[in-house]
Subunit: 227 residues, 2 copies
DNA sequence: GAAACCCTCAAGCAATTTATAAAGAAAATA
DNA sequence: TATTTTCTTTATAAATTGCTTGAGGGTTTC
């Protein structure tokens, strides 16, 4: 299978190397750029499936780079920032960022967000993709889910939530993280909607397999799949 | 709050003093060097957040100093030059200067450029506040605490108590002082609540590092951090 | 040795978070 | 346009965590 190609534009050599190692371990090919100029040049010359772009770059900042990328390309761009404020997020999304990761980040988060962005852009290559967890089988292309062979009828939001959880079964998704991935908009720190969808999803999974508990609440944080 | 440290390499004593005064007034700490050799030596020996470097220096010119700095360091460097030609600017940027200031300069310009360079390099002074004491690291912005690299899960009151103690590690806080700072209300001369919180905090610190003793009781007075 | 002060544990209460049913609103479909 | 489906919000209850207080005992000071 041909590997997807990710460009990492990050001036900190250690962070750049870490990101590269993470992605290579998860089956991607990477190229590294250490300045905005270099990154922009590489982005124009070669074809990438996704770009990881640091916001704080010397000489030309990440947001300027992003603006120039967006003049010619709709390649998914995930911005890496040390700061995490609403204003910055809004600005980034307006500029055309597909997602953002705040430092310090953990490995699972990076992979999850890269996969999410790739999936939304339709560039994921190993389609149709089947995700499995315990008795659950989920087909990302046909949007179908079975539990113990029984077909579940899930709404779009229910499907996306389950798919996200199944992409990284060990990861604890905060409600903010989960909302922003599934809803593709800023989290307004109101968890009523998420709570209801997760409750509905749990009920459907329970009906398919009364013995199974698949979604675990991590109190004060969010949700993960049950081990 | 910890001040950012700027090294000023400028042979003209009056200008060096003026730059120092400007920066000190704006909340920075400064060290002065009057020759390139001296400046290079200081830059290698100590850690600076930014360097102001005069181009015209005796014995060894500023561009040579810059080149040597760049062999080992990516500290932001702003070059001060009496000349202002495109050719010199291009050369300086190629050599790795982050910015340049041309003589004569005004106060606001210096401060603005220093702040700009610091912001681009991620060293800006309004970064999250980190307090350290022995193996404890406390981040006032993200409300996180680590001991020996291990993340502690503290309640809000526990965090506030620790933060207060760490702001002035040598200070003995009376129970009244501590209560009024943390609880933001009048002390009713009942220490049971404080005693329990401090006890719980000690336990959490002890779990993270069984060898450490961080909080000292001053009998009849209150608490301080252990020397 | 007594009094004052402190430590720690456990229990009860308060605050916060979560679960879920039901209702209303919005979106999709026929 | 009407109906159905999906999504969101509200209301209520339950679960969990944080804080305070009391109890019992230990330590320090005079």
């Amino acid at each position: 299978m041909e590997k997807l190609h990710v460009l990492i534009i990050e001036d900190d050599k250690e962070i750049n190397g870490l990101l590269s190692a993470i992605l290579v371990q998860n089956g991607y090919m990477t190229n590294s750029a250490y300045t905005g100029f270099e990154g922009l040049s590489m982005a124009k010359r070669d074809s990438y499936d996704l770009i990881l772009l640091d916001l704080m770059l010397p000489y030309k900042s990440g947001d300027e780079i992003l603006r120039e990328i967006r003049e010619n390309s709709d390649v998914p761009v995930i911005v890496i920032s040390a700061k995490d404020t609403t204003r910055i997020k809004v600005d980034l999304l307006r500029l055309g960022a597909d997602d953002y990761i705040t430092k310090p980040f953990d490995v699972d988060e990076v992979v999850a967000r890269v996969e999410s962005a790739l999936r939304r852009s339709g560039r994921q290559k190993d389609q149709p993709r089947i995700l499995s967890f315990k008795e659950i089988s989920l087909n990302s292309e046909s949007k179908s889910v079975t539990v113990c062979g029984k077909q579940l009828l899930l709404t779009a939001k229910e499907f996306c939530i389950l798919e996200l959880l199944m992409m990284n079964p060990k990861m604890v998704y905060s409600k903010e993280n989960l909302f922003e991935n599934v809803w593709q908009e800023m989290y307004a720190y109101d968890d009523k909607t998420i709570n209801t969808h997760v409750c509905n999803l749990r009920n459907k999974l329970k009906m398919a397999n009364p013995e199974g508990d698949y979604i675990e609440t991590v109190w004060g944080i969010g949700y993960k799949l049950q081990e």
